[in-house]
């Protein structure tokens, strides 16, 4: 039997934990309970239901999932669909795909080019959200934008990106923005593969694709799963597209986070409805988080 030596007596440990627990209660647990309760009321910020909210049961949820209208633009179903497209396009394909390509391209390579590429990709990731959002607004601007200046010079016209292709624009933006995480995770994971594995494959004559399919992919499967779940979680909740498109035009880029914000904090400030969206989002996030934790546990077990 291994005896466990505590550094501090348990009582001291509780003192250390107290501040963290307090913060969690005040800023996480209490709001969560409050939102959960609010989601069963018709509480608003203004009007008669502001001082005297009524209990409405599952009305808010029924409204969200009302099959007659929920897929219309500006409704919950539509927001979920747009969010899914946004997650698949920008996180799973954009960030994970590009991250893997860059990590793979610079596998076991050193040099200036690698440093430059890595630095730029990481810069895009660490610059504050509002700053990058406004640089992208400037970049995509119809009249003065860098992109259109370049396109026009080479004779490709002058599309109004945020108006004509709003979803593609925010997908491109978010791919650019968040590739660093996947790139770092994959390049770290690649480093753990012994060089002799790759060299053996090279000597027996494997092509680049065969090396990827037979050696890198199976050995990185756990890392890839981790990455996909994490970036899905983050992208699902990301709010930055609001700074580029405001959810528009015509709610065509209204992802769930923007839909929640618009419902609860704009227009009629419907706190009750907004809360019900937040609860559903929370459940989806919980589901993803549980899959993530289960995948980690399974990886540890093998």
């Amino acid at each position: 039997m291994e005896r466990k030596h505590a550094i501090f007596p348990a009582r001291v440990g509780i003192i250390f934990l107290t501040p963290a627990i307090l913060f969690v209660i005040v800023f996480l647990l209490y709001p969560f309970v409050r939102v959960f309760l609010l989601s069963f009321t018709n509480q608003t910020l203004l009007g008669t239901t502001a001082p005297n909210p009524e209990f409405v049961g599952l009305d808010n949820y029924r409204h969200l999932f009302n099959p007659d209208r929920w897929m219309r633009l500006g409704e919950f179903g539509s927001a979920l669909k747009i969010t899914t497209q946004f997650v698949v396009g920008s996180a799973l394909i954009g960030q994970a795909g590009m991250g893997m390509l860059i990590a793979w391209a610079f596998y076991r390579k050193r040099g200036v080019l690698r440093e430059v590429v890595f630095t730029l990709v990481i810069l895009a990731w660490i610059i504050p959200e509002t700053v990058v959002a406004f640089t992208w607004v400037a970049f995509l601007d119809w009249e003065f934008g860098t992109l259109n200046s370049v396109l026009e010079t080479v004779g490709l016209g002058r599309p109004d990106w945020l108006f004509e292709r709003p979803l593609q624009s925010i997908i491109l933006f978010n791919s650019w923005r968040g590739t660093a995480f996947s790139m770092l995770l994959f390049s770290g994971a690649l480093e753990t593969i012994p060089p002799s594995y790759v060299e053996t494959a090279e000597v027996v004559g494997a092509t680049a694709w065969q090396k990827f399919r037979d050696i890198f992919f199976p050995l990185l499967r756990g890392h890839i799963l981790t990455d996909l779940i994490l970036i899905t979680l983050w992208t699902f909740n990301v709010f930055t597209p609001f700074l580029l498109t405001g959810g528009g035009p015509a709610k065509r880029t209204e992802v769930v986070s923007i839909y929640t914000y618009r419902t609860a904090f704009m227009g009629r400030h419907e706190f009750g409805k907004g809360s019900s969206i937040a609860v559903v989002m929370m459940l989806i996030n919980l589901g993803l988080a549980l899959i993530y934790l289960a995948s980690i546990r399974r990886r540890r077990a093998t």
């Binding site: 594995y197 494959a201 000597v203 027996v204 004559g205 494997a206 037979d214």
Partner: protein, 362 residues
């Protein structure tokens, strides 16, 4: 016919010249060991053959073909790595069959060929296991099987036995030698273990600082090391090297100018005309070519007994000669009863003189 030919090959890493003007020929079916201390360029030489590194200068030929610029997969060689490089996510069957899979051999034929090779290497009943589920010795065999299975032009081994414990290493050594004889495939084998090189190879290439120090059959390099580096690297314990000056007229050799000199006139006679009076030379004598005696004589070297080590079939006596430790090997099981002060008589027929640069005088 698979010869491997190096013509003035140079490989640099930044300011370090890892392989410095290496020229050598590995004959068809020959087993050649590249031997040297770490950093001597032996592994780089092997990787140059495999195409995992590319030569900066010179030419490399495998068979009749100039492969200097060809990528690994165009060279048709098989390589076994020190860590075996078995893929943990594949079974032993899939691992051994991987070179065939890459070449587009069908599953049926693949399984048959793997089973055949595995049988030959006595790992036939492990094929559905994963590398993590078999012992180090079995992993080693599996990685050799993967090299054997695709009938490459030559085998390249990069210290394949150094991850095994001493007992298994001896076993695997015999197994590898037997296998290579059976298959008759040209083999280049990198090791830092001189005993391994001696035991396995038809010829040994001894390297230091990227240069070839000597090439020869094991006994040849053991008996007549071409320089003091080879002398001090081959043999366990290695050749004794004693520096001193010579008095040509009286046929004497003086260790650190010690009097009286040791009579080496027989050796000097053999090197007639190669020596100058007062020259500093290094005398090289194998431990088994020194005979201890209890009385002084003109050709004997004075020594003090330092430690006597019975080894079973032989006795190793370490003595002090002019401040340096010198090994003496006696092929007997019982240690002799020696006084502290003894004299050693070198067998001058099998002793050599090296010049100040360490090169053999002959």
């Amino acid at each position: 016919m698979t010869q491997i030919i190096f013509e003035h090959v140079v490989k640099r890493f930044g300011s370090v010249t890892a392989v410095n003007d290496v020229t050598l020929t590995v004959g068809d079916g020959e087993f050649v060991a590249l031997l040297g201390p770490s950093g001597c360029g032996k592994t780089t030489t092997l990787r140059l053959i495999a195409g995992l590194e590319f030569a900066d200068e010179g030419r490399i030929l495998i068979g009749e073909r100039d492969v200097t610029r060809l990528p690994p997969r165009a060279r048709d060689v098989a390589m076994v790595f020190q860590d075996y490089a078995l893929y943990p996510h594949m079974t032993i069957l899939e691992n051994i069959g991987y070179p065939l899979k890459v070449r587009g051999v069908g599953k049926q034929e693949r399984t048959e060929r793997v089973a055949e090779v595995a049988q030959q290497l006595q790992i036939g009943d492990l094929l559905d296991r994963r590398p993590g589920q078999i012992s180090g010795g079995q992993q080693q065999r599996a990685s050799v099987a993967r090299a054997v299975v695709h009938q490459a032009l030559c085998f390249l081994f990069d210290e394949p036995l150094s991850n095994l414990d001493a007992q298994l290493r001896l076993e695997a050594r015999a197994f590898l030698k037997h296998l290579q004889h059976e298959l008759g495939v040209t083999t280049v084998y990198v090791t830092h273990d001189q005993a391994e090189a001696m035991a396995l190879a038809d010829r040994i290439v001894i390297m230091n600082y990227g240069r070839v120090m000597q090439i020869g059959a094991p006994l040849e390099v053991y008996r007549r090391p071409a320089n003091t580096f080879v002398a001090s690297f081959i043999g366990s314990p290695p050749m004794n090297l004693l520096a001193g000056t010579i008095d040509l007229a009286r046929g004497l050799f003086r260790l650190n100018g010690q009097e009286p000199g040791i009579d080496l006139s027989a050796l000097f006679g053999r090197l007639n005309g190669k020596l100058t009076d007062g020259q500093t030379i290094t005398l090289g004598v194998r431990p088994e070519h020194l005979t201890p005696q209890v009385e002084p004589s003109p050709g004997a070297i004075p020594a003090q007994v330092y430690a006597v080590q019975p080894m079973g079939g032989e006795v190793l006596i370490v003595v002090r000669v002019a401040g340096k430790l010198v090994s003496v090997r006696l092929f007997r099981d019982e240690p002799p009863d020696l006084p502290h002060e003894i004299w050693l008589v070198p067998d001058l027929n099998v002793s050599y003189a090296y010049d100040a640069d360490g090169n053999l005088l002959q």
